[in-house]
């Protein structure tokens, strides 16, 4: 009993000693948010589906395998979501499509993030002429509606999955530049940045060690939420026939292909549409949750 007590005290002491990271904090906040957890579970499932789909499905046979005789069959026990105009199993295609949509969304946001953070952070920190030029470029990019911008970029570079990612990425760069710059500007004036300067830390290191980590949360939130819009944007381009080349089962192009069959075979558009919605929905729920968890104002 006695020993037990001291043991516990010791444990508590080591616990206090242990590093409790900001990440853990966020996680604790997140756990309380039902929506975020649902979103997280959903998105994890979707990611798992995306990762595992090549194992679960034979691409050549199940996903792009044509059975012209079986075309346009409504949902049944054999084909849960029915078959499309080439007799391909829509269920398999929707499952496999998660790979494309997620990849496009994530890579596009990554592109936007990379360009946006570099330019935005530099603009915010350096200021002056450089900032002016970057912000004017940013103005130019943001005054062209982003869908049109992406369309133009894809048609310029040619249709391919990578170009699609690039186009969506480039088209959504401007907001990231803005967010990064604004975040850096806020942090830039914090006294701890000045303190770092006071101990003789060089500028680049200040950006890297103090400024970026403190902007990161905002940027992560933006990124999560933007993956959703990037997925929608990519689907839009596919819908306009500018997306992932056939026969890849990208959801947007499935929707596009299904639309001429909408009157009698509405399931062809229903399921890929639902898939997009579900993915974006879960990303949004998660993103909202993270934002709330990170926002100190909402903590209390």
């Amino acid at each position: 009993m006695e020993i037990n007590q001291t043991n516990r005290n010791q444990q508590r002491a080591t616990k206090l000693y242990k590093k409790r990271s900001a990440l853990e904090d966020v996680w604790r906040q997140l756990r309380r948010n039902k929506g975020a957890i649902i979103g997280l579970i959903l998105i994890v499932v979707i990611i798992l589906v995306a990762i595992l789909s090549p194992i679960l499905l034979d691409y050549d046979k199940d996903v792009i395998g044509q059975h012209i005789k079986q075309r346009l069959k409504p949902p049944s026990a054999d084909h849960w979501f029915g078959t499309d105009e080439l007799g391909r199993d829509i269920f398999s295609r929707v499952i496999y499509g998660a790979r494309y949509s997620l990849a496009v969304g994530v890579v596009a946001v990554f592109v936007a993030l990379a360009i946006g953070i570099t330019l935005g952070a530099a603009a915010g920190y350096i200021g002056g002429k450089f900032e002016n030029v970057v912000m004017r470029i940013c103005d130019i990019f943001s005054s062209i509606p982003s869908v049109l911008m992406a369309i133009a970029v894809v048609s310029a570079l040619g249709k391919s999955t990578f170009n699609l990612m690039l186009a969506v990425g480039i088209a959504s760069t401007a907001p990231f530049i803005r967010v990064a710059r604004a975040a850096v500007l806020v942090v830039h004036d914090e006294e701890y940045v000045e303190a770092a300067r006071a101990i003789g830390m060089p500028d680049w290191k200040i950006i890297w060690v103090h400024i970026l980590p403190n902007c990161l949360s905002q940027i992560i939130v933006q990124a999560t939420l933007r993956v959703g819009s990037a997925i929608i944007a990519a689907a839009q381009l596919s819908f306009l026939g500018l997306g992932v080349p056939a026969p890849a089962p990208e959801w947007g192009s499935m929707l596009s292909a299904g639309r001429q069959y909408i009157r009698d075979y509405s399931y062809m558009t229903l399921f890929p549409g639902l898939a997009i919605m579900l993915t974006v929905l879960s990303l949004n729920m998660l993103g909202d949750g993270i934002r709330d968890a990170l926002d100190p104002k909402l903590k209390r």
Binding site: G158, R263, M277
Partner: protein, 309 residues
């Protein structure tokens, strides 16, 4: 104030030059030399060259750009490669459709979003709040072209209430407006809610309550006016997006707006139309943004002070 407006309008110039250059550069990289698609299969090399000259496609990118800007300054957006029509004329033909759609869309969105967002914020964490937020999330997650298809399926095909497309009459605008308006309303609802929540925490509302202002007035008079500022921002951004960017809804509903014009022109490598329409759209967007900023000034005297000084 006037100086501020003037300054903003002057800022338009470099942005427009940049937009024009960007489009020029992008279309230059684009696969497919427009001359060949215009010339047809049987064109001889001489004819190709003559045509190239006629289309103003001779010379380097920079030369063409400078020529274009020269014409632009004269108010000439050039003529379409395809229809040979004046781009300005074609753009102006489309603009009313786009404006109609955008306006109705905004009315639908704002009309839904602001009351919903306020209710959600005032009754934070209640059933009403949760419901409207779930709805908003769904609205936000729904690709609008898919929503458009579903609306057609249901309201046009099953019920036959609205036409599926075309630009005649009020009935034909209803479905496109709902399609574009839904995601917008969703976004605005969320913005309204979070902006309102922010304001509801502010001390000056406590001051108002301490004065004996009724709760209704605290929300509708004191809080809303302050909450409007971020809402206006989103409104501005979205309005400009709707102006040029509701391509998808325009495609689904065969709505002959500006977005569709640009996309078709990109399809046809009709560079003058693409550039012209985008330059005009940029101009419009900037003007809308300017108006939004002026509305800001109206709502928030602090911002007005910034403009006037």
């Amino acid at each position: 104030m006037y100086r501020y407006i003037l300054k903003r309008l002057l800022m338009l110039i470099p942005v427009l030059l940049g937009v024009a250059f960007l489009i020029f550069a992008i279309m230059d990289v684009a696969a497919g030399d427009p001359v060949y698609s215009v010339a047809g299969a049987d064109a001889t090399p001489e004819q190709i060259e003559a045509l190239r000259e006629k289309m103003g496609l001779n010379g380097s990118l920079i030369e063409r750009y400078i020529r274009y800007i020269g014409n632009l300054l004269k108010g000439d957006l050039g003529t379409s490669y395809i229809s040979k029509l004046d781009v300005m004329k074609v753009y102006l033909q489309r603009l009313p459709n786009t404006l109609k759609l955008a306006t109705l869309t905004m009315i639908v969105a704002v009309g839904m979003a602001i009351p919903l967002g306020i209710t959600a914020a005032v009754h934070q964490n209640s059933i009403r709040d949760t419901t409207s937020m779930v709805l908003a999330l769904i609205g936000l997650s729904m690709p609008n072209f898919w929503l458009g298809l579903l609306l057609i399926l249901f309201f046009s095909l099953k019920l036959g209430w609205f036409p599926t497309g075309g630009s005649e009459g009020f009935r034909s605008i209803v479905l496109p407006a709902i399609t574009v308006g839904t995601s917008l309303a969703a976004l605005l609802t969320r913005t309204t809610r979070s902006s309102m929540l922010d304001v509801l925490r502010q001390d000056y509302l406590r001051t108002a309550r301490a004065k004996g202002v009724s709760e209704r007035n605290v929300i509708q008079k004191h809080a809303l006016r302050n909450a409007l500022i971020p809402i206006i921002t989103i409104f501005g951004v979205q309005f400009s997006n709707v102006l040029g960017g509701s391509v998808l809804a325009e495609t689904v509903f065969a709505w002959p707006g500006v977005g569709r014009l640009v996309v078709d022109a990109i399809d046809q490598r009709d560079i003058p139309t693409v550039t012209g329409a985008l330059v005009m759209t940029t101009m419009l967007v900037t003007i809308v943004n300017l108006l939004v900023d002026l509305v800001y000034a109206f709502v928030d005297p602090r911002i007005k002070a910034q403009y006037t000084k």
